[in-house]
C-alpha cells in the first residue's frame, strides 16, 4: 500500500509540475499576476508530494519490503538500517528520485528566499525549474519507476553493493546531487532573464549566492567521493579519471568559471552573454553527468543499445533542454548590452582568460570521456583513455590558469598596468621560484613537475599575502583588528577559496613526489619499515560483522622505538553476494597518512600486505573543504545578509501584497 501511495504522489507531482511549468511562464509573458501567483504554491506543493514519495521509498527500505523490485534489488535483511536508507540512492531508480527530491528542495528554497525578486522573474524561475522537473518525473513514471512491484515478493533481497556500504556513501551522493541540481537554479535564473529580456546587474547579484552555494556542495561532494575511493578501494589512489568522476568534475569546472564570470557581471556589468552561456553549460553538464553515470553507456555502448529505452529518454531530454536553451540563447542573447569597457590587461581580462582556460580544461575532460564511446559507436576500434592522457593534457591547461589566479585579485578593474603589477608582485614571484627549486632538492627528490606544483602553490600563497597587505592599508580602521574586520567577507571568501586551491596543489604534488610504497609478505611477528615508521604484524583473527565475516589484521606501528598506533585493516567477505572487500586501515595526520591494506592470505598465517607512507595527502581533501569554506564566507557577505534581513523585517505582509500588484 505504502509504495502505491509513493507512486501516486509522483503522478500528482507530475501534474503539479506541468501546471508550474506552463502557467507562471505564460502569466509572466502576458502580465497576468493571477497566473504568476500559481508558481509559489505549485513549487511548494510539488516539494511535499516528492517528499511523500521519498518517504514512502524510505519506509519500504526500512521495513524490508522485498515486494518492491528496487528494494529487493539493492538491499538485504542483514543490511543495517542506515545502509538500507542509503540504498535509496544505491542504484538507478532511487538516484533519480533523489535527484528530483533535491530539485524540489531547491525550488522550495527559491520560494523562501525570493520575496525580494520581481514577481515576473520569480514566476519564470520557478516555471523553468518546473519544466526540468517534468522531465525527471516523466522519466521515473515511464521507464524507471522505483515503486515497481515484484510479485511474488522475493524472500530475500540481493543486497547493496558492498563498495557502497560505507559512511562516505551515505553522504557523498546527496552532497554531489545538491551541487548538480543546485546549478539548475543558476540555469533557471539565466533562462528567466533571457525570457524576460532583463539581463541586468540585479540578475547577476541574485544568482550569485545560489550559484556559490551549489558550487560549495559540489566541491564537498567531489572531495568526499575522492576520499571514499581512497580508503574504500584499497589501493590508495584518490582520483582515477574514471568517467564517473569526470562526470562530476566537468560541471565543477564550468561552475567555477560561472562563479567568476558572475562576479564580473555583478560588479562591472560585463560578460553577460558569456555568463548566461556558462550557466546553461554548467547545468547541461550536470544533466550529462547524470546521463553518463545512470544510462549504462559507460559500461558498454552495446549494452546501452540493447536496452535503449532509458538511454533514449535521457538523450531526448538532454537534447530538448540543451538544444532549447541554446536556441533561446541564440535568439535573445544578441540583444543584451555589452556593459562597461575594459582593457585586455585588467581584472576583467584576466578573469576572461581564466574562464577560457577552465572551459578548455572542461572540454578536454569531456573529449577524453566521450571519445572512446564515439569511436566504439562508429566501429573505429576500442580504445581506453585513462590517467596518462588526462595528466598530460590537464596539467598544461591548468598551470597558466593557476598562475593567472595569483595575479587576477591584484589587478585593477577596467585597466591594469603590467609594469605596476610586476613591481608589486616581484617579491612574491622571487620567493615562489626560489622555494620551488630549493625545497625539493633539500628533500632529496627533484623533478620538474614537483617544482612546478610547488611553484604554483607557493605563488598563490605569496600573492595572497601581497593582496591582503595592500587591502589592509587601504581600508579604514584604527587598530589592526579593526582593519581586518572592515575587509568585506566576500574578499575573505575569495582568498580563502584560492588558498584552498594552493593547499590542494601541495597535497597532490607532495604525494606524487614523496609517496613510499611497500608490498611485503609478512609472517606473524615480522616487521617492515617505511620512512621512520616500523610496522609489526601481530597476526590476523576472524571477526563477524552484521552482514559479513572478515579477517582483521593487527599492525603495531612504532617510530624511533616508541609505539605510535595500532592499525586494523580488514579483508571482508559479504555473505549475500559472496563478495570480497578490502578495508584499508589508515592513521591520518596533518603531514602524512600511514596506510595498510591486506592482500591475500599466504601459508602459515602470513599475509601479503601493502604499506604506504603518503605525505600531505589529507591536504588534498582539506584544500577542497577550504575552497568550500571560502564559498560559505563569500555568501555570508554583508550585501546578501542585508538583503535577507530587509526581506524578513522591513517588508510587512501588506507591502508584499501591494508589490505583487505593482510588479
Amino acid at each position: 500500500m505504502i509504495p502505491e501511495i509513493g507512486h501516486f504522489a509522483l503522478i500528482l507531482a507530475l501534474c503539479v509540475a506541468v501546471v508550474q511549468g506552463i502557467l507562471p511562464i505564460y502569466g509572466a509573458a502576458v502580465g497576468n499576476s493571477a497566473l504568476m501567483a500559481v508558481a509559489k504554491p505549485a513549487a511548494r506543493g510539488q516539494f511535499f508530494l516528492v517528499l511523500t514519495a521519498f518517504g514512502c521509498l524510505a519506509y519500504a527500505f526500512a521495513e524490508k519490503d522485498f515486494s518492491v523490485l528496487y528494494v529487493a534489488a539493492t538491499s538485504n535483511s542483514q543490511l543495517p538500517l542506515h545502509y538500507r536508507l542509503a540504498a535509496i540512492w544505491g542504484a538507478h531508480e532511487g538516484s533519480l528520485l533523489l535527484w528530483t527530491f533535491i530539485l524540489t528542495i531547491w525550488m522550495f528554497a527559491v520560494t523562501l528566499f525570493s520575496a525580494h525578486l520581481p514577481e515576473s522573474t520569480r514566476s519564470r524561475i520557478l516555471g523553468v525549474m518546473g519544466l526540468v522537473s517534468i522531465g525527471f518525473l516523466l522519466f521515473m513514471l515511464t521507464v524507471s519507476n522505483p515503486f515497481e512491484r515484484l510479485i511474488p515478493a522475493a524472500a530475500e533481497g540481493r543486497d547493496l553493493n558492498p563498495l557502497l556500504q560505507d559512511p562516505g556513501m551515505v553522504i557523498h551522493p546527496p552532497m554531489l546531487y545538491m551541487g548538480y541540481v543546485g546549478f539548475s537554479v543558476a540555469f533557471a535564473f539565466a533562462i528567466a532573464a533571457l525570457l524576460g529580456g532583463n539581463l541586468d546587474a540585479a540578475w547577476a547579484r541574485w544568482s550569485r549566492p545560489w550559484t556559490t552555494v551549489a558550487w560549495c556542495f559540489l566541491t564537498v561532494g567531489i572531495a568526499m567521493g575522492s576520499g571514499w575511493a581512497y580508503y574504500e578501494l584499497g589501493w590508495g589512489g584518490w582520483w582515477f579519471w574514471d568517467p564517473v568522476e569526470n562526470a562530476s568534475f566537468m560541471p565543477w569546472l564550468a561552475g567555477t568559471a560561472l562563479v567568476h564570470s558572475l562576479a564580473v557581471t555583478d560588479k562591472r556589468g560585463g560578460f553577460k552573454v558569456w555568463t548566461v552561456l556558462l550557466a546553461i553549460m554548467a547545468f547541461s553538464l550536470s544533466l550529462l553527468g547524470t546521463f553518463l553515470v545512470r544510462s549504462g553507456v559507460l559500461t558498454s555502448v552495446h549494452a546501452f543499445a540493447t536496452d535503449p529505452k532509458r538511454g533514449m529518454f535521457i538523450l531526448v531530454f538532454l537534447a530538448v533542454v540543451i538544444g532549447g536553451s541554446l536556441a533561446l540563447y541564440a535568439w535573445r542573447a544578441p540583444r543584451v548590452g555589452l556593459g562597461g569597457s575594459f582593457a585586455s590587461v585588467s581584472r576583467e581580462g584576466m578573469l576572461l582568460a581564466n574562464n577560457v582556460l577552465l572551459v578548455a580544461a572542461m572540454g578536454s575532460v569531456l573529449l577524453g570521456t566521450l571519445y572512446p564511446l564515439f569511436l566504439d559507436a562508429l566501429d573505429l576500434g576500442k580504445i581506453s583513455v585513462g590517467p596518462p592522457y588526462f595528466d598530460s593534457v590537464f596539467v598544461p591547461l591548468m598551470a597558466p590558469a593557476i598562475f593567472l589566479m595569483g595575479i587576477g585579485p591584484l589587478a585593477q578593474w577596467k585597466k591594469a598596468s603590467v609594469p605596476d603589477l610586476t613591481k608589486r608582485l616581484r617579491w612574491a614571484f622571487g620567493v615562489s621560484v626560489v622555494t620551488a627549486i630549493t625545497l625539493p632538492i633539500a628533500m632529496g627528490n627533484w623533478t620538474p613537475l614537483l617544482s612546478l606544483g610547488l611553484l604554483l602553490a607557493i605563488w598563490i600563497f605569496t600573492t595572497t599575502v601581497v593582496s591582503l597587505r595592500e587591502r589592509l592599508t587601504h581600508v579604514s580602521g584604527d587598530s589592526f583588528m579593526g582593519r581586518l574586520a572592515s575587509v568585506p567577507r566576500s574578499y575573505w571568501g575569495m582568498i580563502v577559496a584560492h588558498c584552498g586551491i594552493a593547499v590542494f596543489i601541495v597535497g597532490v604534488t607532495m604525494v606524487k613526489g614523496f609517496e613510499t610504497e611497500k608490498d611485503v609478505r609478512m609472517n606473524v611477528g615480522e616487521t617492515a619499515t617505511i620512512n621512520d615508521y616500523t610496522f609489526r604484524f601481530d597476526g590476523a583473527q576472524d571477526v563477524v560483522g552484521p552482514n559479513y565475516t572478515a579477517a582483521r589484521g593487527s599492525f603495531s606501528v612504532s617510530r624511533d622505538g616508541r609505539e605510535a598506533t595500532v592499525l586494523y585493516p580488514e579483508k571482508r567477505r559479504y555473505t549475500a553476494q559472496n563478495q570480497i572487500m578490502t578495508e584499508a586501515a589508515i592513521d591520518p595526520g596533518l603531514l602524512r597518512d600511514l596506510y595498510v591494506s591486506l592482500g591475500e592470505p599466504l601459508d602459515d598465517g602470513a599475509w601479503s600486505v601493502r604499506l604506504y607512507h603518503k605525505p600531505f595527502i589529507d591536504w588534498i581533501w582539506g584544500g577542497c573543504f577550504i575552497m568550500a569554506l571560502g564559498g560559505v564566507l563569500a555568501i555570508s557577505d554583508r550585501r546578501y545578509r542585508i538583503a535577507w534581513r530587509r526581506q524578513e523585517q522591513d517588508v510587512p505582509a501588506s507591502n508584499r501584497a501591494a508589490r505583487r500588484k505593482v510588479a
Binding site: 568517467p243 556589468g269 576500442k382
Partner: protein
C-alpha cells in the same frame, strides 16, 4: 661473561618480535617489480570496469601481471612488451591511446580548444573595444539595482 649472556638472552625475550626479522618483499626481484609497476599503471585490466592493471585484484589481471613479469625477466624492453600486448589485445589495453588517424582529434583537441578560445577572446575583445561606448554600471543603475535587491521590483 656470564652476565653478558644473561643480558643478551633477556633482551632476546623482551624484544621477541623484533628478532622475528624484517618482512620479505613480495616480489623476488624488486627492480623488476618496479618496472612492472611502471608499466602496469598505464595498462588496463581487460575484465574490469575501469581499473589499471596495477590496481586490479581480478584473477585475469594477476595472470597478465605474471606474463609481463616473465617478459621483463626475459629482458624485453618496455617498447617490446607494449607492442606484444597491443598485438594481442588491441589498443584497448593501453590507457595512453597511441597517436594515429582515429585518435588525432583526441590528442590535438585540448590544445585546439585553447587556441580557438584564445583567438575568439582576442577577436571579441578587439571588436568590443571598437563598439563599446563606455557605459559601465552608472550610479543611477547602481541605485536601481540596490532598490531592486532590497525592495523587489517596486518602481519609484
Amino acid at each position: 661473561m656470564n652476565i653478558k649472556w644473561i643480558v643478551l638472552i633477556g633482551l632476546l625475550f623482551l624484544s621477541g618480535p623484533v628478532w622475528a626479522g624484517e618482512a620479505r618483499p613480495l616480489a623476488d626481484d624488486p627492480a623488476n617489480e618496479a618496472r612492472l609497476k611502471h608499466l602496469a599503471v598505464e595498462l588496463r585490466c581487460l575484465v574490469c570496469q575501469n581499473q589499471t592493471l596495477a590496481d586490479s585484484n581480478a584473477p585475469l589481471a594477476e595472470d597478465l601481471r605474471r606474463e609481463v613479469r616473465e617478459m621483463i625477466a626475459k629482458n624485453m624492453s618496455d617498447q617490446e612488451i607494449i607492442e606484444f600486448l597491443t598485438a594481442r589485445y588491441g589498443d584497448f589495453v593501453l590507457y595512453r591511446p597511441p597517436l594515429k588517424a582515429s585518435t588525432t582529434l583526441l590528442w590535438v583537441g585540448p590544445f585546439l580548444l585553447v587556441i580557438v578560445g584564445a583567438t575568439a577572446l582576442i577577436i571579441t575583445l578587439r571588436r568590443r573595444a571598437g563598439k563599446v561606448v563606455d557605459v559601465p554600471v552608472t550610479e543611477d543603475e547602481h541605485r536601481r539595482v540596490e532598490q531592486l535587491l532590497t525592495e523587489g521590483g517596486k518602481r519609484p
